[in-house]
């Protein structure tokens, strides 16, 4: 469990599931919002990492 990526996946899943369940009532809406949040968190992090790649320091 020392990998940044594993923690990114896991942490995003917990937060996405939480807000999906908190902010929507129907299961299908909860799943859709949860998936959107998860993709935004993981995708956003990877995009930011890619942008920072040329500037290691």
């Amino acid at each position: 469990m020392g990998s940044h990526f594993v923690h990114l996946i896991l942490f995003s899943a917990i937060v996405a599931a939480f807000f999906g369940a908190l902010l929507r009532r129907r299961a299908s809406e909860q799943a859709r919002l949860g998936a959107t949040i998860w993709v935004a968190m993981v995708g956003g992090t990877l995009a930011l990492a890619y942008l920072m790649y040329p500037f290691p320091n």
């Binding site: 469990m1 020392g2 923690h7 896991l10 942490f11 917990i14 937060v15 599931a17 939480f18 999906g20 369940a21 908190l22 009532r25 129907r26 299961a27 909860q30 799943a31 949860g34």
Partner: protein, 163 residues
């Protein structure tokens, strides 16, 4: 995920509960994640949130996350906010502190000459020495903050603003 059954209120108008019961639910929800929703009859929702919050808390403890102590000599406001984020989980945080510090400790003593000051600081520093500790801290504080958000959800359910 937590789609409510008819018995849980699906399709019904929002129902309000007495203020006293709502307050009991909020207190229960703070003391033990998910319990407040169960008190208000939202059993599946309560179990789902309990799994998420306690799962995040367990990951935090497994990665030696920071159980913050208020430090009035260093950064009093910031360290107090960290303690609030930790304490949001309620009793599990208290039990974890007893396990880690050997007592219910939420602050460093004001006088650094006190024996407890050095001892608590040593335990805190030893615990956060591991590289994984930063992940653990994120999980711990997220668990606490999620549970604090759930208290607002409980209040809305209890006062009939939400099904």
């Amino acid at each position: 995920m937590t789609d409510e059954s008819p018995a849980d209120g699906r399709g019904a108008a929002p129902r309000s509960w007495p203020v006293g019961l709502t307050a009991v639910a909020v207190l229960s929800g703070w003391l033990f994640p998910g319990l407040g929703h169960i008190v208000l009859g939202r059993v599946r929702r309560g179990i789902f949130f309990a799994v998420l919050v306690l799962g995040s808390f367990a990951l935090g403890m497994a990665h030696e996350g920071r159980l913050a102590l208020r430090d009035e000599r260093g950064a009093p406001i910031l360290s107090a906010l960290q303690v609030v984020a930790n304490a949001g989980v309620g009793l599990p945080d208290l039990a974890a502190r007893v396990g880690v510090y050997g007592e219910v400790a939420y602050a460093l003593p004001g006088d650094p000459r006190e024996a407890a000051y050095g001892e608590r600081l040593r335990i805190l520093r030893d615990r956060t020495k591991s590289i994984a500790s930063i992940y653990g801290t994120a999980y711990l504080w997220t668990a606490g903050l999620m549970n604090l958000l759930l208290l607002f959800d409980l209040w809305d359910i209890g006062r009939g603003r939400k099904c």
